[in-house]
């Protein structure tokens, strides 16, 4: 596979997005073109360059292990598509 191609079906499966045939065709074309544009980065000599994940000072952030108020459980559960009692309700995950 050349660097400019993208297997849309495979990537969509990884990303958990169902795509229509039209979308597969459209995104393959559009994202193939975009990958053509980003290929320009291969021109840069980055052999001895460190990667930047974050530009400003980064440090580990710790806090005291003390109780603090948190979001109200009822309010949070009310934002869910389906709830049951104190839980998020989800489709069956383990087969019978």
């Amino acid at each position: 596979m050349t660097p400019d191609t993208i297997d849309i079906r495979y990537v969509a499966a990884l990303a958990r997005i169902a795509l229509s045939d039209d979308e597969i065709e459209r995104f393959s074309k559009e994202l193939g073109e975009l990958l053509g544009h980003v290929r320009a980065l291969q021109e840069l000599d980055t052999a001895s360059v460190p990667a930047t994940a974050q530009v400003v000072e980064s440090r580990n952030v710790l806090r005291e292990d003390v109780e603090r108020p948190c979001l109200d459980r009822e309010v949070v559960l009310d934002g869910a598509p389906q709830r049951q009692g104190a839980f998020f309700r989800v489709p069956r995950i383990i087969a019978e």
Binding site: P3, L14, A18, F27, E30, L44, V56, G79
Partner: protein, 489 residues
Amino acid sequence: MNAAEIARDVSAGRVSAAEITAATLAQVQAVDGDVGAYLTVLGQIARSSAARVDERIAAGERLALAGVPIALKDNMCLEGSRTTCGSKILEHWIAPYTATAVARLLEAGAIPIGKANCDEFAMGSSCENSALGVTRNPYDLTRVPGGSSGGSAAAVAAGEAAIGLGSDTGGSIREPAAFCNLVGFKPTYGRVSRYGLIAFASSLDQIGPLARTVEDAALAYDIMAGYDPMDATSLDRPVERTADSLRADLSGLRVGIVREFDTKALGERSDALYREAYRDLERLGAELVEVSLPTADYGLATYYLIAPAECSSNLARFDGVRYGLRVEGADVRAMYDNTRAAGFGPEVKRRILIGTHALSSGYYDAYYVRAQKARTLIARDFERAFAQCDLIACPAASCPAFEFAAKSDPYSMYLMDYYTIPMSLAGLPALSVPCGWATPEGANLPLPIGLQLCAPLFGERLLLGAAAAYERATNHALAHPAQIGPVRA
């Protein structure tokens, strides 16, 4: 009225917050049918906030933003209000808490008028990617307001708020500000807490104000900036106030003009305006120096790997379980696939797919890591440039506001952020300030153009100070050549 004037008048008791709020809601009622700035108007919340502000003023409290009506981009949480990100997947979601930046403005006396439209999950440059509404440019209703903070920009331009809160990942505050004749300011990454800002690309996202004047932008920034324990990337270092730094001239400053940003490519009128703007900076006492950003041209390619990679990870949380939309399927896997298929629009899907690809096994080093290294080179370009100058001046956008559907090819839309993305990748503070009017082909009326100024990390005071001097000397925002203003009742 500007925010600073409103706050002064409300604080002095010349007008009440309730009166300002009623007048602003009346303006929304009158013009928002045309402009479409808001997805949700917070009439009740606004009125009760105003009543509380008036009580606090009566009790002798001093509030920096007393009675100032604000528009909140709809990717920012306000407890008890619908917060959609312009997406079907969150169309009916009610925020259970308030973003830190929003909470600080409200504590300072600001009044939340509404939740403003934006490109879905802040991905876009025209507001056309919103799944929930159309926002029009108040200076020409046949054109876009810019994006992604287009609703906040349109609201301020149309008098439906005095300050708009936006978020900027690659230009999403600066470009709509340029399109709507406003000042749009993106602070240094980490200066304003992202807590309660629904994440798009976490290493780039930054909240900032859109306002009619530099003074108003500075006023809002001073309230919002500063460490927040709820955002691990917010910076725990002292914030310099900016509202008292507004300068009268630019003497002693060196302003860098970027050799690689040839404004001739932007057309005769824009080229002339930018040249005039640079001359005006010089006239104000600045020394112009040529600087080079050799890697800036790779900014777009770098950004369109890093931002989608981060978005593909951040948006994984929208899976039909904890918030928003769920579309059922035969099993849990089908439920995820169907929910995300129905909930996300085309641009969000594109970015999730490209980001997933860039992070996937076998491609990670070739795309994501290489982009992170290019990001280092871009940041180093700026470091070298700032050894020679104090500020950089360049265009804020590659053209004035364009017509709806004019950029149907995704890459042509991405090009809108050519001049703003390098600063975002380097985390630098940057703003757009009005620098004149141009009438592009096909337009009946002149449209605003924005000058971008950029400072080194933590250079907010210098940046806003210099922008105020330029604004005061040129006053382009108030000089609409056809003597017409934005939509008025």
